[in-house]
Amino acid sequence: MSDATAGGDERGEKRTDGGESLSGISRRQQTASGWVEAHALTLVAVVTGVVLLVLFYYPIATVLVEAVVDDGELTFAPLAGVLTSRFYLVEIIGFTAYQAALSTVASVALGLPGAWVLSRFEFRGRETVRSLTILPFVLPSIMVAIGFVATFGANGTLNRLLSLFGLGPVNLLYTLPAIIVAHAFYNAPLVTRMTTAAWESVDARTVETARSLGASPARAFLDVVFPQLVPAILVSATLTFVFTFASFPIVLALGGLQYATIEVFVYYRVQQLAYADAAALAVVETAVSLGLTYAYLRYEAKQQTAAFGAGAQPAPRKRLLPESLRGLSARDVLSRVAVSGYGVVVLLVFVAPIVSMLLSSVTAPDGSLTTRYYEFLLQRQATAAAFQVKPLPAVLNSLLFGVGTLLLALPMGVVMAVLTTRRYRGRKVVDALSMAPLAVSGIVVGLGLLRGLVFGFEAFGYRFTVAGAIAIVAAHAVSAYPFVTRNVAPLLGNLDAKLVESARSLGASRTRALWDIELPLVAAGVVAGAAFAFAISIGEFDATVILATGSNSYTMPVAVERYLGRRLGPATAMGCILLFVTSLSFVVIERFGGRSRGV
């Protein structure tokens, strides 16, 4: 803003005397851009703060305050009500934590081998597979439910396979394991992606050194490689716990009400307009999630010891399919067998549900193949009224909001990572609070956005409201930037502080040092965070429908929900469009990101 004003002044001067002011312009512009450069970090930090305040902290405060204020007076009755109820504490919160813990273990168990395969082996399509691991992240829960019923149901793919071998049938649906496997479907890819990134930045030379000092391969892995993976594993495990602790629709769809989580009861209370109870439950829920996040962050802070300066040189990948069988050691054979076993699990847990979704979008009620659901989409596109949801605008909006989210969430996330890797008192609290968008009940956020922004607030005789496309992008960025921060901060923390110091002593601004020195070194984290940010935006539903003004800002998940009816066809067809568009985007993003990483 001040940049523009400065330019304007110069132009006014220029009319009077030509030559001299030209150099004046460039000098002044240099100073202006210098000022911007010097303060860029601060500016982005201020913007981040404003966005968080307007789109997160203020809205949720309008709801959470009901937990402690009744008719203008401070009260602890709602919180006490939750904390003294055996039902809430044991049956609901206890169970929610229990299933979240199991889901976390399952996600790590299912995700880690994926990281091993993707970072240690070379095979055709590896990059593409890696890009596609993000897919579960964007799928609406109803799509996952449909895919799971079609895969694990009484007449599902698994039972049909088992019956070929004279086994089964197994009844997996409507049990705790069904919920846990569905949670792993969503979150194991998170573990895989974050751990793969860490594995790829393990410097091969450190392993070689250990080996040359006589360590066995197993010893070298346990002592050298594994410790460098632990932060990534723990951060993805923490995020998994936080997400599954707040799980809601998928629990009811695949488990049933006897497996109700705390978020189910937050939803109930909000529906009944029993806001004090809803807020109290949400406060407890958030406290658990933030407490865990804080514990993790304290651990992460202690780990920042293995400083590396130059880019790590990862060990070369082994070919998954060796050119000849000769010279293969028993180890090599065993690892290939393990990869194949893992491949079968992946086929069942990840590929089969997605293929089932694809199939159900082309299967008529009588079991024959049909294109009628895609014809429905075309017809919708051609004839839908202005107040109805059309497929193509939904696709375009999703992409537009996704790109907008990237543009906003990347600077927000990186700056927050820079701020939280500086040393100052209480920074872990700031860090934990910056993770709050992941830890607060989505239902509370939705209600808060309605109250705080859509209805707005009155001041100076005006009612201020915030809604529409830009508000949606900002809300998506609020949910997305913690992923950028969590992917970038650990890498940033591991950088040798001397790098920045020497750049600064040579006259570089803090921004320039970040841009020229640090960011290229942590590019892998930035790209990983960008992928998550885009995915969060594509998959977001709650904030989008609250902030949408009219039907012209609806996205793909909203279209899926709208097309859901007695027959699953139309919704699954739209869901497959979502899958297709997202897959394509990710292959493109990561190809592009991967190339720029080499620079």
């Binding site: 803003m1 913007v47 404003v50 966005v51 307007v54 039902f87 049956e91 609901i92 109803i142 439910a145 449909i146 019923v149 149901g153 009484a154 599902g156 009811l252 769809a253 049933g256 009400l257 006897q258 109700a260 189910v264 009861f265 939803y267 109930y268 529906q271 009944q272 307009l273 029993a274 009620p365 009588d366 429905f376 009224a385 107040f387 109805q388 949801v389 209600l447 309605l450 109250r451 209805f455 009155e458 005789g461 005006y462 009612r463 201020f464 409201t465 915030v466 809604a467 496309a469 830009i470 508000a471 900002a474 429908v545 609250i546 709208r562 859901l564 009816g565 007695r566 027959r567 139309p570």
Partner: protein
């Protein structure tokens, strides 16, 4: 002018990234005219009902009334209404449905809509328990032509704000190739039906709520929890939304599902095997869920809103709503297509709780039920 100035100022304050999504409207304090010095033209521009051009009628409803993959009455109603009245009908579908307006009223934000379509008894109770003033206006039957034709059995608002426009019945849908549904609630407890019934969460779905209320009707306030405990022992599955349960039913997870008694209308239209879509009225009854419409007390265009309510009650419109919303009309002489009755089944005895019976009880009944069900 003032608004533009404000935005400029806000932009300079450094939140320019958000401005395009922000708006600041002058607050109307009820003193309708000349409250501010200038600005005659700008403010009246947003008010409807002024003779300048055609009026706008804003009607809020639930999404599937105007946008469903099969058929929805919304587009047809809009077209017909606009062709007859010199007005634009604008459908609004707030995500939180009636709670959106309750919340709006509670926050002191003006209601800018004229009518709401899709009320039921429970929503009215929620409105009355949470809104201090009047959200909806009582409808003077003189002002709404055709009001008296509504079947008296469908009336559910003691204050006569909500005008019923259609009704649905919640029943069991079953696949007779796998099981023949029992005829009574007690029959559902028999071992042969273990794990055979899919129901929905009463808090997430209207069908789930109706089924729970039906069990309370059948077993009494003192007996329904015990009945559900036995039902749970017999493997009833309570999933989230109706879509979750119906998708599971369609995939053959269980042979019975709680759904609507109009199921065969869809099945027939889709060319499905009707033996997989049999209807059972337990104890010969079904829970009736009449849907009502009402005019907002502060409707900007009250006369037009009354005309709309009246329009919705015309026999030919009633028939179209019934067919497109796949529900039963609220009046007796709607000219329904001949095959309608063949596939849309009505129970001998519809049952339902009145406003007075539900008031103060519904939350308690549901909470007690949810606590018991989630604890087992």
């Amino acid at each position: 002018m003032r608004r533009r100035n404000f935005i400029k100022a806000a932009g300079a304050a450094g939140v320019s990234a958000l401005v395009a999504g922000c708006s600041a409207e002058p607050v109307d304090d009820g003193g309708d005219s000349a409250s501010n010095e200038s600005t005659e033209g700008t403010e009246t521009g947003t008010t409807t009902g002024t003779p300048s051009g055609s009026a706008t009628l804003r009607v809020a409803t639930y999404t599937s009334f105007v946008d469903a993959p099969s058929s929805s009455p919304g587009p047809w109603i809009k077209e017909q209404f606009e062709s007859e009245f010199d007005a634009t009908l604008e459908w609004q579908t707030p995500e939180n449905e009636i709670n959106y307006f309750i919340e709006r009223a509670a926050q002191g934000v003006d209601i800018e809509s004229d009518a709401y379509v899709g009320l039921d008894t429970n929503m009215l109770i929620r409105v009355d328990e949470n809104v201090d003033g009047e959200l909806f206006a009582s409808v003077d039957s003189g002002a709404v032509e055709g009001r008296d034709a509504v079947k008296s059995g469908l009336e559910f608002d003691p204050q006569e704000r909500a005008v019923p426009y259609d009704t649905g019945y919640i029943s069991l849908v079953y696949n007779e190739n796998q099981a023949t549904a029992p005829e009574t609630f007690d029959g559902l407890l028999r071992p042969e039906f273990e794990g055979d019934l899919l129901a929905q969460d009463p808090q997430s779905s209207a069908t789930g709520q109706a089924f729970l209320l039906h069990t309370i009707k059948a077993k009494g306030e003192d007996g329904y929890l015990d009945y559900w405990s036995q039902l749970q022992d017999n493997g009833v599955r309570v999933l989230g939304k109706w879509e979750d349960a119906y998708a599971a039913y369609s995939n053959g997870e269980a042979p019975m599902v709680v759904s609507y008694s109009t199921d065969q209308v869809f099945a027939n239209a889709e060319g499905e095997d009707l033996s997989e879509h049999q209807i059972r009225f337990l104890n010969g009854e079904a829970y009736a869920n009449p849907e009502g419409m009402a005019r907002f007390a502060d409707a900007p265009s009250p006369d037009l809103a009354n005309q709309f309510l009246s329009f919705m009650l015309r026999p030919e419109v009633q028939a179209e709503i019934a067919v497109r919303n796949v529900a039963f009309p609220a009046i007796s002489d709607a000219p329904l297509p001949e095959d309608f009755a063949q596939y849309a089944k009505e129970p001998e005895t519809p049952v339902t709780f009145t406003y007075e019976e539900l008031q103060g009880n519904l939350s308690e009944w549901t909470d007690a039920w949810a606590q018991q069900f989630a604890s087992n």
